[in-house]
């Protein structure tokens, strides 16, 4: 046990006296930034794709859009996120001659990637809403889009909230690969603390704890949101 407390001391020394906490805060900030902005971008892209994919397909335009969206989803679900990060950072950016910080790259790639997954989640959500809801909206003279955004999507979101929460949690954990393109996340921060103190046991333990606390907090937030959205289901 004395051995362990020595390790804790070494960790605390690296964490407090050698500016480890600043690095951890930066990592935490990046992790959250990438996950949250990635989710926001993902929801936007996913919603657009989902709507395109449930569009009635009598005309040519929806069919072309549908083809594009299928290709997009296939592309981003068909390759690992690490590969997407590396290709985007080391292939696309130099080819296009754009300079961008690795955190921004991570936000974009995670957004594009989760957009592909969320589109399928959102599509199943839209399909889970009774077709009569759309018909009722159209019957009183609302347009397809008005009905979609005011009636169908809100109910779809309510239905998929637990799955969407899952996606967010997965996203938080997946961000641990952004170090591949040189962004500082929690892993890099604790790895640095470990290297400074020549002691990895406690830093990685604390890192695991931080991830768990993050995920628990998110689950709690989702539960609260779900409860407020479920208002319309409750009998009172």
């Amino acid at each position: 046990m004395g051995d362990f407390s020595k390790k804790v001391d070494a960790f605390l020394d690296a964490f407090i006296n050698q500016n480890g906490y600043a690095k951890v805060l930066e990592g935490l900030q990046n992790t959250l930034l990438i996950a949250v902005l990635g989710l926001v971008i993902g929801i936007l892209i996913g919603t657009v794709i989902a709507i395109v994919r449930v569009l009635p397909k009598y005309k040519v335009m929806p069919r072309i859009l549908n083809g594009i969206c299928s290709f997009y989803v296939g592309l981003f679900r068909g390759t690992p996120i690490v590969v997407q990060l590396l290709v985007f950072y080391y292939v696309m950016l130099p080819l296009l001659g754009i300079r961008m910080s690795s955190v921004n790259v991570a936000i974009i790639v995670f957004g594009l990637n989760s957009g592909a997954y969320i589109s399928e989640i959102m599509r199943s959500g839209i399909l889970s809403v009774d077709h009569g809801q759309m018909e009722a909206g159209r019957a009183v003279g609302l347009s397809y889009w008005t009905t979609m955004f005011k009636i169908v999507i809100p109910q779809a979101v309510k239905n998929i909230l637990p799955t969407l929460g899952n996606e967010f949690i997965a996203l938080i954990k997946e961000t641990s690969v952004v170090s591949f393109v040189g962004a500082t996340d929690l892993y890099i921060a604790f790895n640095m603390i470990g290297s400074n103190s020549y002691e990895f046991m406690v830093p990685y333990l604390v890192m695991a704890l931080i991830y768990i606390v993050l995920v628990l907090l998110i689950s709690l937030g989702i539960k609260i949101m779900e409860r407020s959205l479920r208002k319309s289901d409750r009998r009172h």
């Binding site: 009774d130 009569g132 809801q133 018909e135 009722a136 909206g137 159209r138 019957a139 009183v140 003279g141 609302l142 347009s143 008005t146 005011k150 009636i151 809100p154 109910q155 309510k158 208002k231 319309s232 289901d233 409750r234 009998r235 009172h236």
Partner: protein, 276 residues
């Protein structure tokens, strides 16, 4: 008011409507009956283009709404529809259900008028003083549209005795209450005609009465109604014309006394002998 000319509808190779011709006048209460699979629901849903007709014309207030180029949303405002499964908006409270369409449509029109005015002002800059165009008068505003819609919705709820349910969600209502709310939701747009698609078929027997009573009230007030129904008693009492549809065609169209008392079509005779 509605003039249906040679209406046809097929789903793929399956022909559901085989040339339907019917004239519906203002104030008509028309009941449509027929065996299941006869095309009566499809006929009703074609009237407001819920199903796009594959042939023929539907002249509503002088416009052929079966034409794809027509903005159907404008015309649907004048045609209410009540569904078998109510289809109240689950994410809206009762009063929001009733207010949604009037408010949305009102705001859309307001926005459109404002946009037109901007264009007129812009083009007026290049016109000589004699040629200047007048602005579209805007007499209302956002708050007023909402207030009017709310007032109207409360009045409608009072009428069906559900004013105390204004702020609850539809999931807490009984079937009969839901259907009555659905009917006043259609009424909130002041439609010229209301289409009823088997409005009592999904209800418990003891709730059928309250819905039929409300429909009778509407009929008395002179609302034009087209009702697909299995309620023969209601059809006999309220309708001024009853249609019998089978095989996608109108086989008999007569006032109820004649329709039920002296049916001519053999298929109708057979049908009535089974259901009456």
């Amino acid at each position: 008011m509605i003039d249906v000319i040679n209406l046809q509808k097929s789903f793929g190779s399956n022909k559901v409507l085989n040339g339907i011709d019917i004239k519906i006048e203002k104030g008509d209460i028309m009941c449509v009956i027929g065996p299941s699979g006869s095309g009566k629901s499809t006929f009703l849903r074609c009237l407001n283009c819920m199903e796009d007709p594959t042939g023929g014309q539907i002249i509503f207030n002088g416009v052929d709404i079966a034409d794809f180029k027509v903005d159907i949303n404008i015309h649907r405002r004048r045609m209410g529809m009540v569904f078998q499964h109510f289809n109240l908006f689950n994410n809206k409270t009762v009063i929001q259900n009733i207010m949604l369409a009037p408010v949305t449509v009102g705001l859309q029109d307001l926005k459109k008028a404002k946009r037109t005015n901007v264009m007129i002002k812009l083009t007026n800059l290049f016109r000589s003083s004699r040629m200047k165009k007048d602005l579209v008068p805007i007499t209302t505003n956002k708050a007023e549209i909402k207030a009017t819609a709310k007032e109207n919705a409360m009045a409608l709820l009072n009428r069906i005795g559900l004013a105390d349910k204004a702020d609850v969600y539809p999931s807490t209502l009984s079937g009969g209450q839901k259907q009555r709310v659905a009917i006043v939701r259609a009424l909130a747009m002041n439609p010229d005609v209301i289409l009823f698609d088997e409005p009592t078929s999904a209800l418990d027997p003891e709730m059928v009465g309250e819905v039929l009573d409300l429909m009778k009230q509407l009929a008395k007030e002179g609302m034009t109604m087209i009702i697909v129904t299995h309620e023969m008693g209601f059809a006999r009492e309220v309708a001024n014309r009853v249609l019998f549809i089978d095989g996608g065609q109108i086989l008999e169209s007569a006032p109820p006394a004649e329709f039920f008392g002296n049916p001519k079509n053999p298929r109708l005779k057979e049908f009535l002998s089974k259901v009456l």
